[in-house]
Every structure is written in C-alpha cells, then in structure tokens.
C-alpha cells in the first residue's frame, strides 16, 4: 500500500508540473492551450538525443532540454497565441490543436514513430523501515514540493509574480495601471511550457516515449485543471495530487481503469460545480 501512495505522489507531481502551465495560460489569457502537448513531448525528445550525447549525465541533459524548449514555446506564443487574445474559445482550441498536430508530425519526421526506451537514471533504492523505494520517484515528489514552494514565493514576493496574480483577478484593472500585461502573459506562457517540459523530462524514464505521449497526459492535466479550478494555483496543486492518488489506487485494483477513473471524478465534479467559461 505504501508503494501505491508513493506512485500516486509521483503521478501527482508530474500532473502538477504540466497542469500549472495550463492553469496559468487559461487564467490569464483565456486560451485552452493544446500546444502544451508539443512542449511536453519536445522536451522528452530533446532529452533522448542529449542523453545519448552526454553519456550518463542525465541531470545536465535534462536541464539543457528544458532550456531548449523555451525558444520553441516563445515562437508559439509570439506567432499563434498572441493572435488569439480575445478570440472565442473554439478558435483558440482549434488553433493550438493545429500547432500540436504540426509539432507531433515534426517529431515523427525527425525521430520516427517507434517508441524509445529510457531507463531510470538513478536506479538505486531507498530503504526505509525494511521497505525499498525507488529513489528516482522520491526525488520527483521532492522536486514537486520544492517547485510548489518556489512558485508560491515567486507569485507572492516578486513583482512579476504579483502582476500575474493581479492579472488573474482582473486583467483590465492591471492594464489601467499602465502595465503592459501582454509581456507578462508571454513570460507566464514560457514558464508554463518550461514546466511542462520539466514534467516530461522527469516522467520520461518511467513511462513509454512515443510521439503521441503528450495527448493522454494532457487530457489528465485538463481534468486536474478543471477539478482544481481554472487559474487557481493552490487548487491545481491539491487536485493534481488528489487525482494522482486516484489513479494509483485504481491502478492497484484495476490497472486499465486508472485514467478513466480520473475522467469519472472530473465528470462528478462538473456535475456538482459546473464551470462557466
């Protein structure tokens, strides 16, 4: 059972990395960002190439691949997302979906469709009370908690973070103060994409890698964002871990039903608390 809890926390942490970007983009610019799959998958594929390049230095390769994703996400923001401000949700949805289609096809072009194997980069186990936990998973959870604290500090202490939080509440109010909100939105977008890449990079060694890997995890992250509340940072954190736990516990008893259970939870939440967007 302790293993189940640990697995739940791991999945929750990954979901948190990915959904934080979604939640922020939605809360600020009202764009449902399907292109998130692209940044996530791009990060993973960059990692594959870099790991082969620097044999063994996983941390270095991971950092580099996250940095590589930043210009890509900036290009997406500059040429696609910025044109979508104030559009109806349907069009933003379709446009970002189109971006992810283009991206997935590019990945297939460069790396091919076959799944890649990537092994656990640490491989050691942590022994506590006679139980052994894979150290890598423990690390992921720790990184997630650290990230949550760091993000909290970022949004509470720094001026950029404060502007973003204020814009989540009232965009026009912030604009009236003479602040160029769009610039901060693009920072938020790039930050969210980099975090998605982080999630991808950390999740890659314990999942299978193929060009469509982003889609299923993106659906799960949408569920997280809906359950946690769009643009609600703390809610996203809590719902990510709660749904991760739901997945892990379902997987323990009925392994194929794990993802479906998340959607069922989402449907129940939507019945009792419909969201108007």
């Amino acid at each position: 059972m302790l293993y189940t809890v640990l697995y739940g926390f791991t999945i929750g942490a990954i979901l948190y990395f990915i959904s934080i970007g979604l939640s922020l983009t939605f809360g600020t610019i009202r764009v449902i960002n399907f292109a998130h799959t692209l940044t996530y998958t791009m990060g993973v594929y960059a990692l594959i190439t870099l790991v082969a390049l620097f044999k063994g230095y996983f941390a270095l390769a991971a950092t580099l691949s996250i940095i590589l994703v930043i210009p890509i996400s900036y290009v997406i923001e500059r040429f696609i997302i910025r044109r979508l401000y104030g559009e109806s949700l349907d069009y933003t949805f379709i446009a970002t979906f189109a971006v992810s289609l283009i991206g997935v096809d590019t990945i297939k072009w460069i790396w091919g469709v076959n799944p890649y194997p990537l092994s656990d980069p640490i491989g050691t186990y942590l022994a506590i009370w006679g139980l052994t936990f894979p150290l890598y998973r423990v690390l992921i959870v720790l990184i997630a908690i650290l990230l949550f604290l760091a993000l909290n500090a970022f949004f509470k202490k720094t001026i950029v973070g404060k502007i973003v939080v204020a814009a989540l509440e009232d965009k026009d109010g912030v604009r009236c103060l003479g602040i160029n909100v769009d610039k901060y939105f693009s920072i938020v977008f790039v930050l969210g994409s980099a975090l998605a890449a982080l999630g991808g990079v950390l999740y890659a060694p314990i999942s299978s890698i193929h060009p469509y890997m982003g889609l299923s995890i993106l659906l799960l992250s949408f569920a997280v964002v809906i359950v946690g509340g769009m643009g609600n940072l703390k809610g996203t954190f809590l719902s990510a871990f709660a749904l991760g736990m739901v997945m892990a516990i379902t997987a323990r008893y009925w392994s194929q039903g794990a993802e479906t259970m998340v959607f069922i939870v989402m449907a129940i939440v939507l019945i009792f608390r419909p969201i108007d967007i």
């Binding site: 939605f26 009202r30 449902i32 696609i80 044109r83 104030g86 559009e87 109806s88 949700l89 349907d90 069009y91 949805f93 379709i94 446009a95 979906f97 189109a98 971006v99 992810s100 289609l101 283009i102 997935v104 096809d105 590019t106 297939k108 072009w109 469509y212 889609l215 659906l219 949408f222 569920a223 809906i226 194929q256 039903g257 993802e259 479906t260 959607f263 069922i264 989402m266 449907a267 939507l270 019945i271 419909p274 969201i275 108007d276 967007i277």
Partner: protein, 340 residues
C-alpha cells in the same frame, strides 16, 4: 464575457441564418435534386464504394454541424457517437439478428440513448469545458470497448459484421448500398433542414449568440441544448451504423479520439452553421484525406497548417465564400440572393 462579445463582433453572422427569405417548401425539392446530382456526378470520377464512404462522412459532419455551427458548442468527442452507433449495430447483428434495418435502428437508438444520458451532464457546460468533457467521455468510451468489454467487442482486433439480406435490402450489393446511403443522407438533410428552420432552430441559434438573453425570455435553455445534443448524437450514431454496414467491420478506430480533428476540420473548411457547408466540407475533407497522403507524406502537418489558415484567414469556409461571391453577383444584377 469579454471574449464572447468580441466573438460576436468578429464572426460575421452567416446569411444562411436569414429565415424568412426562403421557406422550406418552395426550395426543398430542388435541394434534394442538387445534392443527388452532385454525388452522382462525382461517382464516375471516384468509385461507388468511395462515394458511399463520403456520404456517410457527410451525414456525420452534418450532425456535428448541428451542435457546433448552429448551437455554437464545439465538441471534441463526437466520434463517441459514431463509435457507439457502429458498435451497437455491429453487436446486434453479431449476437441477436442479422436484420440490417433493425440493426440501423438499434445503433441510432443506442447512440441517442447514450447522448440522452451523458447529455444531462455535458450540456451544463459551455465553451472549452464542453469540448474537454466530450473529449473525456470519448476517451472513456474508447477505453471501454478496448479493454473491459473485450469479451464481446474483441478489443483492438474488432469484428466482422455479416448482414443477411432482407427482402430487397441486399447490403452485399454496392449499388444498393450507395442508393440506401444517399437516401439516408437526403433524409437527414431534410430532417435537419426542417429542424434548423423551425422556431426551435431559431432558438438554438439564439443560444449560440447569447444564452443569457434567451433565458431572460423565459425559455428553458437547458432542455433545448439537451435536445440538440441528443439529436446530434442520434444522427452521429446513424452515420456509425452505416459505416459499420459499409465496411462490414467494426474496430476501435471508429471511436478514436484523434479522429475528431477530421470532423472539426471538415465542418470548418465547408463553413460552419450551414448544412450545404457541411456537405461541401465533408466531401472536400474526404478528397483531401483520401488522395493527399499519396502525394504528400507529411499529412498531419498539412492538416495543422490548413487549420491555422482557416482559423486566421478563412473563417467562413468554402461555402461561405461561394455565398459571398454569389451575393456580389446578385447585387450587381439587383436580383434576390442565393437560398441557403
């Protein structure tokens, strides 16, 4: 709220929405003739089997268009109904009776029933939530046929559907299949035309423009949205049963979440909010998806770029532009404009 207002300003109201211009009765028959002639014209160029396939897809696009173009709710999980229709009719034929008509009724009814049930949940949401929850349900359906119901649906492999002929309903004959599907298409077209030009049709279009105001007028918008959802689901299910009978085969690809992009694309390229647009879009999409991959290897990339172009430059779609050109010509002549 702000985004809704700007949508209203940016998307020009389709002229197809003018209801009083042409009553259904005068033009109905001509519509049918034009559609039949159109499909018969492309039959010799392509093949009978292919055109049958195109027509089934057109039915599906029309059902999607009722929800997206007319009611303004973008669903990213419409394949669920196609799949449900296909699976229910296929299973009916496999386990209960080989009667094709009963199977078609069964598939359509089950898809409608499913829409009734999940509609109660889905219709409460709007905008992105609507798309996502549809997507989620589609994923659940896909998963259900793939693994827990593996015993009867045979999972990934799918199963063959062998229909016994019934009177002159001989589904082994491609020509008969062609005419039967054409009949279904005309029937669906007639039904949807009637529905969308009725007061109910005005109401769902008003819901697209501004739901709050419709509520203020005292209408129970929830019921009308639900009804539209069920109708769209049922017609989508019909398309599914027909494709099961057409291919003689059912597999989980018919419920695949990824295929949704095709119907969205078809609806947009033809011009959303217009049944003719749905037909044109369906045919154009099927032509592209059938023939383009032969010449262009990177087919998804092409799809992505064209979707971007449509979203940014070409929102009215093919049919909307034809209408504009026609109107321009008519304006110069001083005659009434094209009926929609």
């Amino acid at each position: 709220m702000k985004s809704e207002e700007s949508t209203l300003n940016k998307v020009p109201p389709s002229h197809a929405n003018d209801l009083n211009a042409y009553p259904m009765k005068e033009r109905g028959f001509i519509n049918f003739l034009v559609i039949t002639a159109g499909f018969l014209l492309i039959t010799p160029i392509l093949s009978v089997h292919r055109v049958t396939d195109f027509m089934i897809f057109c039915i599906f696009v029309m059902s999607f268009d009722l929800m997206y173009g007319y009611m303004g709710r973008l669903s990213f999980g419409h394949m669920l109904f196609l799949g449900t229709g296909a699976y229910c009719s296929g299973l009916f034929i496999r386990y209960i009776s080989g009667n094709p008509l009963l199977a078609i009724l069964m598939g359509t009814f089950m898809a409608g029933l499913l829409a009734m049930l999940i509609g109660l949940v889905i219709v409460r949401t709007t905008g992105a939530c609507f798309s996502l929850i549809n997507l989620a349900f589609n994923q659940i359906g896909f998963f259900l046929v793939l693994s827990p119901l593996r015993g009867i649906t045979r999972g990934e492999d799918g199963f063959g559907v062998r229909v016994s002929s019934f009177g002159f309903f001989n589904f082994a004959n491609t020509t008969f299949k062609f005419w039967f599907v054409l009949l279904c298409l005309l029937l669906v077209f007639y039904l949807l035309k009637r529905v969308t030009t009725s007061p109910y049709g005005i109401l769902i279009r008003s819901i697209k423009e501004d739901e709050t105001r419709v509520k203020f007028l005292g209408y129970n918008t929830f019921f009308y949205k639900w009804l539209t959802f069920v109708l769209a689901g049922g017609v989508g299910g019909l398309a599914g049963t027909l494709s099961a009978l057409n291919y003689n085969f059912v597999n989980p690809n018919m419920m695949d979440v990824h295929s949704n992009v095709g119907v969205v694309f078809a609806s947009l390229i033809g011009g959303a909010g217009n049944l003719y647009g749905a037909l044109v879009g369906g045919v154009v999409y099927m032509l592209i998806s059938n023939f383009l991959p032969i010449y262009i290897h990177r087919w998804e990339m092409f799809l992505g770029f064209s979707l971007l172009i449509i979203v940014f430059k070409f929102r009215k779609g093919v049919w909307g532009n034809i209408q504009d050109i026609w109107e321009y010509i008519q304006k110069r002549k001083g005659a009434p404009r094209l009926p929609a």
